[in-house]
Symmetry: C2
Subunit: 327 residues, 2 copies
C-alpha cells in the first residue's frame, strides 16, 4: 500500500522532502501545504499546493505529514497543532528545547490517537542514533561530535546583522588535529577552539570599514569569540559563484575501553559528508515518514524520536529481504 | 530491576561478555554454562560455573542467556535448543545461513513464548544496522564494506592446515586507495583484489620448504587466490610476542545521490577500530541482552535481529534522559 505523504512548508527542506518522497518506491506526495498564497507556489513535481489553513480537510487523504518549517518559530507551534490531525514528522533541532517540544507534541498526539516523530534529520537524528548505539555498546568511554565542513545558517545570519555587511556565508570546519587525537584513543578534553574553526566569506557594503567588520565578527560572543575565526572579504559575484551550495556534515566518535581492567581501546566513528544539507535532511525525513506510518499501524501513539525507531522500519524492504541482504 | 544474565560457552567471546555484563550498571551474571567439566573452568569474576546440561534448572533465575559459541557447529544446534528455555542472544555470523538460522530459532522461541536476538555483534550486527540506516536514508546509492586491519580467524586456520606450517596469523587489510575512491563519491566497481590485501605471518616447521608454503597459501582458492597476499615467515617467539592480539574493525560506506535529478552527492561512513574483537563483540552482546529483556517485556516473542531493535532499547538510560543527553 502506497504511503500518502503531505508536506507543510515549501522552502529548501520542503523541496528536499519532495524529491525524496517522489523517488521512493512506496510513497507518493498528496499535496504541499503553505501559508503563502497557494497560487504563488510552484512545486518541482507539479503536486497540488493547498493553503495550510485547509489542511484539516485532507486528514483522510494523508497518512503522514512532513513538516518542513524552521525550529525557531514554526515548529514549536505547528507540530503540536498538526500532531492532533495527522501522523507527523518534524526536524525540530533546537537541542536544549527538545524535551519541552517532546512533551507538547506527546500530549497533542496521544490525545488524538496519532503518532509524531520529532527531531528527525542528522543532528538531531542520525547523529543521536549513533551516539546512543555507540554509548550503549561502549559504556566506558567518551563521545565527541564535530561538525562540518559546512555552512551554518545561524552563523551566516549573525554576520549579516553586523553593520556594513551586505551578505555573508559562514563555514564551520572541524580541526583535523583534534579529530586525529580522538581517533588515537587519547580521550582528550577539547575546548570549542580546539575542535572547530570558523571561516567567514563576507560581502561588505560600499564604503564600509572592513577592519571594523572583521573585528566585530571575531569578537561576537558565543558565535565567534570562542573560535579561531577567519574573515575573507569577497565580491557579490564571488559569493554567488562559489558559495551558493549548502554543504554540511560532521563526525560522531566514541572512544572507549573494554575488558575488566579497561585494557583494550575501541573506536567508533560515524561520518556524514553532504553536498546538500536540505536534500539529505529531506531524505531522512521521508524515511522517517515511512517509519511513523508503520509504528502507528503497530498501535503506537504519542511522540517518538529516532531513538525509538528500529532500523528496519525506515526501509521499504521486508524483514526477510533485509536479513538476507544486510545481515 | 537488575537483569540476570547467563553465558553459555566460555572462550574468548564468553570472557568478553563476562567483562561487559559485570561492568554494566543494570546487569549481573548469574552463571556460566559449559560443556566442559565445570570444575575445570575458572571465571574471571568468580561467577559459578554450571554444566550446560543442567541449564534448564536455571530457567527461573536467568532473564537472558548469552551464547558465546561458534557459528560453524555450536550455534546452529544450541540457539534453537536454548531459545525454547530462555530469552537468548547469539552472534551467529555465517552470513549465507542467517535466513535458515532465523527460521529455526523463530519456530523454537515462538513456540515457547520466548524471544531470541540472533547475529548480534558488529558484522553481522552494527554493520548491518548501518547498512540498513544508510540505505534507507540514501536509497539511490551504493554500499561498500571494508574489513580490517584485523585478524581473520578463518584465514589463519586455513594457513595452519598447509603442510609444513606450525602456526600462523592472517591480517585482512583494507586498501586505502579503494577507500578514498569510495569516499570521493565515484561509486566504483571494485574487485576483491582492489578492496583488500592479505598479510600472513607464518611459523614454519623445521626443515619445511618455505617457498612451497608461500606458494600454496597464495594460490588457495577463495581464501587467498583472489587477493594480493604477502607471506612473512617469522619465529615462534615473534608470533607470541607480536601477534597475540585479536584486533579488527572495518568500514561501512554508502555513497548516494539526492534531488530529483541525482544532482547532489552524499556520503555516509561508519568505522570501527577495535583492539579486541572478542571483547567488543561481547560488549555488543551485553547491550543486546538488555534489549531482548525489554522487547520480551513488551510482549514480543520469536526471533529478531538488530534491525528490529530501536537504539534506546540497548541503553540502560531512560527515554527522557536519552532525549536530553543525545538528541
Amino acid at each position: 500500500m502506497t504511503i500518502r505523504a503531505g508536506i507543510l512548508g515549501y522552502g529548501n527542506l520542503g523541496r528536499g522532502v519532495e524529491a525524496a518522497v517522489q523517488t521512493a518506491p512506496d510513497m507518493e506526495l498528496a499535496a504541499v501545504f503553505t501559508r503563502r498564497d497557494p497560487k504563488s507556489v510552484k512545486t518541482l513535481t507539479g503536486v497540488p499546493v493547498v493553503s495550510a489553513g485547509d489542511a484539516a480537510a485532507w486528514a483522510d487523504r494523508i497518512d503522514v505529514m512532513i513538516l518542513g518549517g524552521g525550529s525557531a518559530t514554526d515548529l514549536p507551534r505547528q507540530t503540536p497543532e498538526f500532531a492532533k490531525l495527522f501522523n507527523c514528522v518534524d526536524s525540530f533541532d533546537t537541542h536544549a528545547k527538545i524535551p519541552e517540544h517532546f512533551e507538547a507534541v506527546d500530549q497533542a498526539a496521544r490525545g488524538a490517537g496519532k503518532l509524531t516523530l520529532i527531531s528527525c534529520g542528522w543532528d538531531p537524528g542520525l547523529f543521536s542514533v549513533l551516539r546512543c548505539l555507540s554509548e550503549s555498546v561502549l559504556p566506558r568511554g567518551r563521545s565527541y561530535t564535530f561538525w562540518g565542513r559546512g555552512v551554518s545558517q545561524g552563523h551566516s545570519d549573525a554576520i549579516r546583522r553586523v553593520e556594513g555587511v551586505r551578505d555573508a556565508r559562514q563555514y564551520t570546519v572541524p580541526v583535523e588535529k583534534a579529530l586525529e587525537e580522538v581517533r588515537s584513543g587519547a580521550n582528550p578534553e577539547l575546548t570549542a577552539r580546539q575542535m572547530h574553526t570558523r571561516e567567514c566569506y563576507v560581502v561588505a557594503k560600499g564604503g564600509a570599514d572592513k577592519e571594523k567588520i572583521a573585528s566585530r565578527i571575531r569578537s561576537m560572543p558565543n558565535y565567534f569569540e570562542p573560535y579561531d575565526t577567519t574573515v575573507n572579504f569577497i565580491s557579490e559575484e564571488e559569493l554567488q559563484r562559489d558559495h551558493q551550495g549548502l554543504p554540511h556534515g560532521g563526525f560522531v566518535l566514541r572512544s572507549g575501553t573494554t575488558g575488566l581492567k579497561d585494557e583494550m581501546c575501541e573506536l567508533i566513528e560515524f561520518r556524514l559528508k553532504l553536498d546538500s544539507n536540505p536534500q539529505f535532511t529531506g531524505s531522512v525525513l521521508a524515511a522517517c515518514a515511512r517509519a511513523v506510518v508503520r509504528m502507528r499501524a503497530m498501535g503506537q501513539s504519542g511522540c517518538r524520536t529516532l531513538l525509538d525507531v528500529a532500523p528496519a522500519w525506515l526501509s521499504p524492504r521486508e524483514g526477510a529481504e533485509l536479513r538476507k541482504a544486510l545481515l
